[in-house]
Homo-oligomer: 109 residues x 2
C-alpha cells in the first residue's frame, strides 16, 4: 500500500512572492528543533546580529546565502553546503539569492 | 574575509562506484546524530527490519528511495521529501535509484 500522506516536501508550499522570509518549524522536540527558512533576496534585519542560545547546524538546499560572523569571516553557502554555528556565535545573513528561492534547513540543538 | 574551509557539502566525496551504501556521521552530540546515507540501487539487508531505539527524521536530497513499514505501508521519497520514523517503528528500504545516487540526510534523536 503506497501512501503519500505521510510525506511532506521541503520545496513545497513556497509562495511565488516573498516580501518577507518565512520561518517554519518542521520538527520540535525537547532536544532539537528543525526549521525551514525560505529567503529571496532578504538579509538579516539591520537591527543586529543573531545571538542564539542554541547551536545551529544549517544546510542550503536551493539558492545561496552568505553568512557573516561578527569576526568578519564570511561564508558563502551554495546548494548542499552546510555549516555549524555555535551558540552565541554572533552572525547574520548578508546576502541571499534574489533570482532563486533560497531554502535553508536548520537544526537548532 | 571569505572562507571556504568552514564549509562542507552534502553532495561531495561520493565515490563513482558504490558497491555498498555509505553511512557517515555529520554531527554527533549527546542529544542527536545527523547522518548522511548514500545509496545507489541498494536496499536494506535481507536479514530484517531496522528496529531503532531512536526516532529518525529523514529527507531525500537526491535520487529516490522507497521505505516500507512492517505494517505494509510503503512510502516513496523523491528529492525534498521527508518522513518521520518513530523509534521502534520497524521499517526497511526496499528500493533506491539505480541510475542516480540517492543522498539521504537523517537526524536520529
Amino acid at each position: 500500500m503506497l501512501r503519500v500522506d505521510l510525506l511532506a516536501n521541503i520545496f513545497s508550499n513556497i509562495p511565488s512572492k516573498l516580501p518577507n522570509e518565512i520561518f517554519e518549524d518542521i520538527l520540535i522536540t525537547e532536544k532539537l528543533r528543525v526549521e525551514r527558512i525560505v529567503s529571496k533576496g532578504q538579509t538579516s534585519p539591520d537591527t543586529g546580529w543573531y545571538d542564539q542560545s542554541e547551536n545551529e547546524w544549517v544546510i542550503v538546499l536551493s539558492g545561496y546565502g552568505i553568512v557573516e560572523f561578527i569576526s568578519g569571516v564570511k561564508v558563502a553557502l551554495k546548494q548542499g553546503d552546510y555549516l555549524n554555528i555555535k551558540a552565541h556565535e554572533k552572525h547574520r545573513v548578508i546576502e541571499t539569492s534574489s533570482d532563486d528561492t533560497t531554502v535553508w534547513l536548520a537544526i537548532f540543538y
